[in-house]
C-alpha cells in the first residue's frame, strides 16, 4: 500500500463561508470608504452576471468573482490577508474540521487543501488546520496590481480532479488509497478519482449521489 493523501475542498467543507465572503471583506476594506463604496457598487452591478456564471459552471463563477479584485494592489491583498482570514474564515471553521485533518495526519496522510479559494487565504487555513500542502487559485499580478484574472490552472470543477491526479502521481500516492472530501456537486470529478470519497455537509443532490455510491456522508456542520 502506498502512502496516501487526503484532499480537502474548503468552502462549505471545512469552513461555512464561501468564496464570496472574503471577497466582500476585501471590497469593504479598501484604502478609503469611497473606494470601498465604488467597488461594492461595481460588485452589485455584476451580481446578475455572477449568478448566471454560477448556473453555468464553477470555473466561470470563480473567474467572474475574482475579476472584482482587479486593480487591488499586491500590498493591500497581503496586508489584509491575515485580517480577512481571522475575521472571515477562522471563525467559520467547522468544529470537527481540525479533528478530521488531525485524524488524516495521524494515519500518515499528506493533507492537501485543494480549493478554489485564493492561495494567500488557503495558506493561512493550511497553517491553522495543520495541513501540509495547498493547491489554490492564484491572482495574476502585473506591476504590483491584480489584473482580475486567475493564473492557470483555475482550481475548480473537473480541473480539481486533474490537479489531484497530478499531485498524487508526483507524491507517489496511489489514488486507490487517497481520500477526498467535499460538500459540492461540482467536486464530483475530484471525489470520483480517489479510492475513498467522503461527502461533507452535502446538499440533496450530492447526498443522493453519495448514497448511490455508498460514499460516507459527514456532517461537520452539526453539533454532535
Amino acid at each position: 500500500m502506498s502512502v496516501a493523501a487526503s484532499y480537502f475542498d474548503v468552502d462549505g467543507t471545512l469552513v461555512r463561508t464561501n468564496l464570496v465572503h472574503p471577497t466582500v471583506y476585501y471590497l469593504l476594506n479598501q484604502a478609503t470608504p469611497l473606494r470601498s463604496l465604488a467597488r461594492l457598487g461595481g460588485a452589485i452591478l455584476r451580481a446578475p452576471k455572477l449568478g448566471l456564471a454560477e448556473l453555468r459552471d464553477r470555473r466561470t463563477f470563480n473567474e467572474e468573482l475574482f475579476r472584482l479584485y482587479e486593480g487591488m494592489t499586491e500590498d493591500r491583498l497581503t496586508l489584509l490577508a491575515d485580517e480577512a482570514f481571522d475575521t472571515v474564515m477562522k471563525p467559520a471553521v467547522y468544529p470537527g474540521a481540525r479533528d478530521l485533518v488531525a485524524s488524516c495526519k495521524a494515519r500518515g496522510h499528506e493533507v492537501v487543501i485543494l480549493s478554489g479559494a485564493l492561495d494567500f487565504l488557503a495558506e493561512r487555513l493550511r497553517r491553522h488546520l495543520g495541513a501540509d500542502t495547498v493547491i489554490a487559485n492564484r491572482l495574476e499580478l502585473r506591476g504590483g496590481y491584480a489584473t482580475g484574472r486567475l493564473l492557470p490552472p483555475v482550481v475548480a470543477g473537473p480541473t480539481k480532479a486533474l490537479l489531484l491526479r497530478e499531485h498524487a502521481r508526483a507524491g507517489g500516492h496511489g489514488l486507490d488509497d487517497c481520500h477526498a472530501f467535499s460538500d459540492s456537486y461540482s467536486d464530483v470529478p475530484m471525489l470520483s478519482v480517489v479510492g475513498h470519497a467522503t461527502v461533507v455537509n452535502p446538499g440533496g443532490q450530492l447526498e443522493r449521489l453519495a448514497r448511490a455510491h455508498h460514499w460516507p456522508v459527514l456532517h461537520l456542520d452539526r453539533t454532535p
Binding site: M1, S6, G96, D99, L100, A102, S103, C104, A106, R107, H109, H179, F181, H196, T198, R211, H214, P216, V217, L218, H219, L220, R222, P224
Partner: protein
C-alpha cells in the same frame, strides 16, 4: 423425555412460524423434528423500586452504596447502551428506575459532582431521543447533554491508561471514569454474555482494549459466548476487568429482565403452534398476510415502534465478581432449556433485530452475526448442531444498509468480503487500516455511525459458527450475491433447503429448530448410550 419447551413434530403438526427478517413465514418441518421454544417469562419482581433499594443497601462483596459516598467526591455513573434489551423496553426502562434511585441517594449524601456516561464502547452514539427513552424525561431534561452523554472511544484527550494484564493487554478506559472517585455501573443483562467485568472493561474502553479479545483467534475459542467458563472472550475480558477492578473503585448494579418480548396481542409468537387457539391461528395468518403486503419502510416502522413489555426479574449490587454469578443464575433460569443430543441440521428464523441495528435495518453482515454468531451460540455444553452440520436460516438477505449507522459496514461487505471471507486474513490485512479511516472515525465521533472496527468484530462474531458448521443455507433470499458473499447457499423453500442439507447429512438426519425470539438457549447433553463427542 423432552423438556416441556422441546416439542417433537409429527405428521399432524402445524407449520412453524419463523421470522424472516421483518416478516413471518410458516414452514413445514418433517415429522421427528425437535423444536426448542423459549421458556415462559419468569415472574417479575413485585416492587422493582423496593428491590433496587434493597440491592443498594445489601450489596455483595462490598459495603452499601451509601457508605461509599462522601460530599465533594467525583462520581461517574456508566449505563449500558441501547443495544439491549431487544427490542427496547416499554417505559420506564430498568435503567431509569435504577438511575432515579441512585441519583437521589447521591444527592442525599451531598455528592453533586456526578456525570452519567452511556457506555457505548465502539457502538454508535445514541441519539437524544434514544437516551431519553432509557433514562426517562426527568433525568434527560436535567442532565443531557452536559452531564449525561455518550462515551467517545476516539477522543484523544478522553481516554486514560489504567494498567496492563500479565499478558500485556492494555486497559485504556474513559478518562472521566478513570479519574473519578467512584464508578457506579448500571447494567441491564439480557443474555449471559453481558455484565460482569464486560461492563466497565468493554463498555468504557476503546479500540486498543478491544483488540485483545475481539479477534478471530479468541472468538474461535468460545464454546459458547453464552457459557462464560467456556468462552475465551470472557476469560480475556475478566483478565482485563480485574486490572480495572484493582485500580478503580467500581460499584456494580446488575439487573435481569424476563423474556416477555411480545405484548399480549403478539404473545402467541412464542407459543407452540399446535397449541394456538382459533383466534391465535387467525391472528398469525393475518399478521403474515399483512406483513407480506406492507411496504418495507412501513414494516420497519411497525416493528420499531412496538417496545417490549419486559419486566424486572432481579437486581443485585456490589463488587462485580460477587454480583455477577447471581445475574447469570437468573439468566439461565429464564433461558436454558435442556436438550439431549445434537442435530445434523439446525433450523432458525432470523428476526429483524440484533443488538447492533436498533432503529435501523438488519443488514447482511448482521444477518451473519445473528446466524453464526448469536443463534449458533445459544448453547451450553456442546453446540445444538454437530460439527460439519448444516444451519438453515430464513431471511431475505437484502443488500440494504443504514447509510448513517452502518456506513463502514457497506465497504466491509462490498469491498473486503469479495477479497476474502477468511477472518484471520481480514484481521491481518485490513482491520488496522480500516479502523483508522478518518471519515468513518468522524462519523463515529460526530454522527451516529458504528466505529470502523465494528464490522470486523461483527464478522469475527460468526467465526466460531463458521469453523463448526459445514454449510449455511438461506431460505427466502431475494438475491444470490449477498448470501454468496457471506458464504451461504440459497434455497427457494424450506423443503428444498432440507433436501440440500440431506445431501451432506447422514440418513434420517436429526433436525432441530430453534424457535426464537424470544430468547432461548439449549443446555445440550450427549445421549448417554453414545459416547461420540462433537
Amino acid at each position: 423425555m423432552n423438556h416441556p419447551c422441546v416439542i417433537t413434530l409429527d405428521r399432524r403438526s402445524a407449520p412453524r412460524a419463523l421470522f424472516s427478517g421483518d416478516r413471518i413465514v410458516e414452514v413445514d418441518l418433517p415429522p421427528g423434528t425437535r423444536v426448542l421454544y423459549p421458556k415462559s417469562p419468569l415472574a417479575p419482581l413485585k416492587d422493582p423500586d423496593a428491590a433496587i433499594r434493597y440491592a443498594l443497601h445489601h450489596p455483595y462483596g462490598t459495603e452499601p452504596l451509601y457508605a461509599k459516598l462522601r460530599p465533594g467526591m467525583k462520581v461517574v455513573i456508566a449505563v449500558d447502551d441501547i443495544s439491549l434489551p431487544l427490542p427496547p423496553m416499554k417505559a420506564p426502562d430498568v435503567r431509569e428506575r435504577v438511575l432515579t434511585i441512585v441519583l437521589q441517594l447521591l444527592a442525599d449524601h451531598g455528592v453533586d459532582d456526578v456525570e452519567i456516561i452511556i457506555a457505548t464502547s465502539v457502538h454508535r452514539r445514541m441519539t437524544g431521543p434514544e437516551v431519553r427513552h432509557i433514562v426517562g424525561d426527568k433525568i434527560f431534561n436535567a442532565w443531557w447533554p452536559k452531564r449525561l452523554y455518550n462515551h467517545d472511544a476516539e477522543d484523544p484527550k478522553g481516554m486514560a491508561f489504567v494498567g496492563e494484564t500479565s499478558l500485556g493487554e492494555r486497559v485504556v478506559l474513559n478518562k472521566k471514569a478513570v479519574e473519578s472517585d467512584l464508578i457506579i455501573y448500571v447494567n441491564l443483562n439480557l443474555v449471559p454474555m453481558d455484565g460482569g467485568h464486560k461492563s466497565v472493561a468493554v463498555g468504557l474502553c476503546g479500540y486498543e482494549s478491544l483488540k485483545p479479545h475481539h479477534n478471530p483467534r479468541v472468538l474461535r475459542k468460545c464454546h459458547s459466548y453464552f457459557d462464560p467458563p467456556a468462552s475465551e472472550l470472557n476469560t480475556v475480558v475478566e483478565r482485563m476487568g480485574r486490572v480495572a477492578q484493582q485500580h478503580l473503585n467500581i460499584f456494580t448494579i446488575e439487573t435481569t429482565v424476563n423474556n416477555r418480548m411480545f405484548d399480549r396481542p403478539l404473545a402467541f409468537l412464542a407459543k407452540n403452534e399446535d397449541d394456538h387457539t382459533a383466534a391465535e391461528r387467525a391472528a398469525l395468518k393475518a399478521l403474515c398476510y399483512t406483513l407480506d403486503r406492507t411496504p418495507d419502510d412501513v414494516r420497519d416502522q411497525i416493528f420499531r415502534r412496538v417496545p417490549a413489555p419486559y419486566e424486572l426479574t432481579g437486581v443485585w449490587a456490589g463488587a462485580t465478581e460477587s454480583v455477577h454469578p447471581h445475574t447469570l443464575k437468573r439468566c439461565f433460569e429464564q433461558y436454558a432449556v435442556p436438550l439431549e443430543g445434537q442435530a445434523d441440521i439446525l433450523v432458525a428464523g432470523i428476526p429483524y433485530i440484533s443488538p447492533y441495528n436498533v432503529n435501523a435495518y438488519l443488514n447482511p453482515l448482521l444477518v451473519q452475526v445473528l446466524a453464526q454468531g448469536y443463534l449458533f451460540n445459544m448453547y451450553r455444553g456442546v453446540p445444538v448442531v454437530k460439527k460439519g452440520g448444516t444451519m438453515i436460516i430464513t431471511h431475505p438477505c437484502k443488500d440494504r444498509f443504514d447509510p448513517e449507522q452502518h456506513a463502514p459496514y457497506v465497504e466491509f461487505v462490498h469491498r473486503l468480503l469479495p477479497e476474502t471471507r477468511d477472518a484471520l486474513e481480514l484481521h491481518r490485512k485490513y482491520e488496522e487500516d480500516f479502523a483508522r479511516n478518518p471519515s468513518y472515525l468522524a462519523m463515529y465521533r460526530r454522527g451516529n455511525a458504528y466505529h470502523p472496527a465494528h464490522p470486523f468484530f461483527m464478522w469475527y462474531w460468526g467465526e466460531a459458527g463458521r469453523q463448526h458448521l459445514g454449510r449455511v443455507i438461506v431460505v427466502g433470499a431475494e438475491n444470490d450475491y449477498i448470501p454468496k458473499l457471506l458464504g451461504y447457499e440459497t434455497a427457494r423453500s424450506m423443503p428444498e433447503a432440507l433436501d440440500m442439507a440431506r445431501d451432506t447429512a447422514p440418513p434420517s438426519p436429526d433436525i432441530t429448530c430453534l424457535h426464537v425470539p424470544p430468547i432461548a438457549m439449549a443446555d445440550v447433553t450427549l445421549p448417554k448410550a453414545r459416547g461420540d463427542r462433537a
